[in-house]
Subunit: 526 residues, 2 copies
């Protein structure tokens, strides 16, 4: 066994040395990549690709606004910042609104108001970028081989279109099914659940009615959501090009999901399923945290985070969690920056930043309390940790529903939560062994892949750079209008032919009949 | 440069030693694979996977009839043969009919007669296998982890269904779109050309009419083609299960195509594009052939093969080729077992078996004369050799059309061919540099893949064995009937609701109107 391990380590070291040496030889080909990232958790996956592309010797330029939540410089890429018209206070205010939602359910009016604020902020950023002629000229002169961007906010996609540079999109999905429309990907509402409906792939008749109805509304929702970009796009491109047309030029779509979580559905050739990119990027825990985790003994630990946007909560809400944690034997590591009460239970460690993936990968991790963001959910699946989920907003409701459908997690409402329901849920996912069993099976499927997500994402980005696009993956469906795509013109024509033939046959028969009748009448008259 | 090469070779050697040693360590997990192959060229790709699975330490049992065209034993797998009711003469006769088609175009009647002969042969083989209770019991007792089979003839698929073992399908495609139906894969006839239509993905209105019409006929064609299997299946399973139902249980579909040749179209999660598996499996040429090839000088060589089934041709037809080859400066290597005339040109080497892939991979290869079989076409693309194509039967017409659409080959008819047209075609693809340029671009795209085809095929076969299937990739569409899948029941319901609301609104308006009228009438009367 020891020999086998020794052999393994020796081979690994040799392989790394060889790879590095060969890589150096191979790196004679390097390209230029422009990155226009989205802020928040969207940056996480893109950043991993950007870092790796830089490490491989490509020139990577990341264009970001002067002020942002999480965007910033890195070791392996160059950042180009551009001035914007708003300040840090607006960003703080928007984050604060998320915390507010912990106490009160999000009403449609407040949701719309919040969404409007985000859209205003984003359109303002986009206008600042597009009107920065000096920066645009600089980017044009660089002659990039590809643009990497998250098209959920289409600023990068519009810029790539303007610069005539092939685009690589990296995304979780787009609101209102715009990704399906822009890739010409069939998306039957009979078994592909729509965003925010919380439907699964197996729907009752009533659920299917809702799903079909939402799918019919999608074009309208898209129009309303991306309305502000219409004018910006026109001003920037100096001609009227629809958003779908711009997005449909994307060479490769790197989808941040896979079918360990998502329900199986049709794909197009230029869609590559990357899944969760960060799961494999792991670091050892620092000494203090490692000791706290190890001290949990046989009971293990519970990891608790509500994502990068929500790190604090109102005192009364926090009290529920503190109370619940005092009632369980596990130790809890909680990302919490709110007011700290005097009587924090001994088994709770509050941290300003949680090495979430490293903690979930620790053998002592027994449960994960999460808001249901895609990164967290996939990290939980990757490491096989059952979950208690408290969805807050966006796609989180859909995500947690998918996890619950697979029987590897329990959903609670952050608004109605009590210490007892939380303890019950934790005990269920920790002590009911069926949760762990199902999770281990799901985890095994998730982790069994022909290529690591980061390698796959980098491979396809480099592919687009090497071949100046991926035209051979672009379906001819993009050249057809709605009638043609559904062959309605052909069906109409075939029906017309059938009608003509039927009428002609009928006429012939009638004629023959009449002649026969006339003859027999004549005979009778004779 | 020399240092870099030396480093590369050293690393490669170490890497192979390490891989082998680690592989040995990893091979503690091995499974049992049952293989039910199809004969002819279909065996080529499956055999490569079978050999590799055996090499990796899996127990691989290949079930084949006592007599066949190309099926046979190998180093890394066990063969189990079963007796059949026909002899070698039937197989020879069927091969002979292919040669006959070189002189006369295939008429519908002869095509149907030929097809009937094949179907009779196949159903007889299937019946012999299914009625061989001893062999079936043996296979059942083996408790296989997976069945690998080409479902174009569904004997392996039906056997897997009967044994309740997950199936991995490896195929080029199925006649009458059965693969799309069985995977629930959307297949819009507006831009996905149907087999045998020779349409591309960009069709005129007339071509779309034909394509839609053929797609409408497909279910009927399927029914007729696979009719003989209905009874065999019922007798074997002792219940009525449709072929689509059986095929739809396939865990993973390894498709022997990719989008360097095929037109982009929708895919399903359990479809994996393998492309051509043999291109990377290369051996050095033997000394005699190597010398003949090297002696071609700057003009290079032309590789000529009409596939595994057609190695000879009538004297008069062969004379055309001999004459044409005497008119070109290239040397020609021709797989030919027919009558050899006295005046074979000096630049022609006739061979009973051609190392086709190794020859195409030689830097001296200038052109490839092929019948347009999938293996040959992909080998040509892989090595970047422009083609002159002479389609004979089956999917070859579609294949060569795809190659011609990409401007990397010229199509000729074997029936109308003359020495002049052949020389013209060869000169075009060899001397018109645009053919070579386009082919090099296509070849670069074809060869740029994240994982080698054989590794990918083996990976997915092992995946199915490890996880006892791939249920997470099976779309819920399989549980819906036609009406539900297309949401026609929901649309009907929504239309009904709209009708009710319209009627109710109309009634209300009418009522209000009548009341208003009555009041104003009353007022007038007052």
């Amino acid at each position: 066994m020891a020999t086998k391990m020794h052999l393994g380590v020796t081979c690994l070291v040799i392989s790394i040395v060889c790879s590095a040496a060969l890589e150096q030889g191979r790196s004679s080909w390097t390209g230029k990549l422009l990155v226009v990232p989205m802020d928040g958790s969207h940056w996480t996956g893109v950043k991993a690709v950007v870092e790796e592309m830089g490490r491989r010797g490509h020139t990577v330029i990341v264009v970001i606004p002067e002020i942002s939540m999480r965007l910033g410089p890195g070791k392996h890429y160059i950042t180009k910042t551009f001035p914007i018209t708003y300040g840090q206070d607006l960003i703080n205010q928007m984050i604060g609104e998320h915390v507010h939602e912990l106490t009160e359910p999000e009403h449609v009016t407040s949701m719309v108001a919040h969404l409007r604020k985000i859209i205003n902020c984003v359109t303002s950023t986009t206008e600042s970028l597009f009107s920065n002629q000096e920066l645009i000229d600089f980017l044009r002169e660089k002659n990039f081989d590809a643009v990497l961007t998250d098209p959920a906010l289409p600023v990068g996609a519009i810029l790539a279109y303007n610069l005539s540079v092939p685009a690589v999109y990296m995304l979780r999905g787009m609101p209102c099914g715009l990704d399906a429309a822009a890739t010409a990907c069939p998306d039957p509402p009979s078994y592909v659940p729509r965003f925010y409906t919380r439907n699964s792939d197996r729907m009752t008749f009533g659920e299917r009615v809702v799903n079909v109805f939402v799918s019919m509304l999608e074009p309208l929702i898209c129009k309303v959501t991306f309305w502000p970009f219409k004018e910006i796009t026109f001003n920037f491109l100096q001609r009227d090009v629809s958003l779908i047309e711009i997005l449909s030029t994307g060479a490769v779509w790197l989808m941040r999901y896979d079918f360990s979580l998502e329900f199986p559905k049709p794909l197009m050739p230029n869609m590559q399923l990357i899944g969760e990119i960060n799961c494999e990027i792991r670091n050892p825990l620092n000494k203090e945290v490692e000791e706290f985790v190890k001290g949990s003994g046989e009971h293990g630990i519970v990891v608790f985070s509500l994502g990068s946007l929500v790190s604090s909560m109102p005192k009364e809400k926090a009290a529920i969690f503190f109370k619940a944690f005092s009632m369980i034997p596990q130790r809890v590591l909680w990302r919490y920056t709110g007011e700290i009460p005097d009587d924090v239970p001994e088994n709770v460690k509050l941290m300003k930043w949680l090495p979430q993936n490293d903690l979930l990968g620790h053998p002592k991790a027994k449960a994960f309390i999460t808001h249901g963001g895609t990164h967290g959910i996939y990290e939980g699946i990757c490491h096989g940790v059952p979950m208690v989920m408290l969805p807050l907003f966006g796609d989180q409701g859909d995500n947690v529903h998918r996890v619950a459908t697979r029987g590897v997690g329990v959903v609670l409402s952050i608004h109605d939560i009590t210490a007892e329901t939380l303890v019950d849920a934790l005990n269920t996912v920790i002590n009911d062994s069926s949760y762990k069993q199902r999770m281990e099976k799901l985890s095994a499927i998730h982790n069994d892949r022909p290529m690591q997500p980061l390698d796959l994402a980098v491979y396809w980005t480099e592919f687009v750079m090497r071949h100046k696009g991926a035209d051979h993956l672009r379906p001819a469906a993009h050249d057809l209008n709605w009638l043609q795509y559904h062959s309605l013109d052909v069906i109409g024509f075939l029906l017309f032919i059938v009608l003509i033939i039927t009428l002609a046959t009928f006429k012939c028969c009638a004629l023959c009949w009449r002649r026969c009748c006339r003859k027999s009448q004549k005979r009778k008259e004779d």
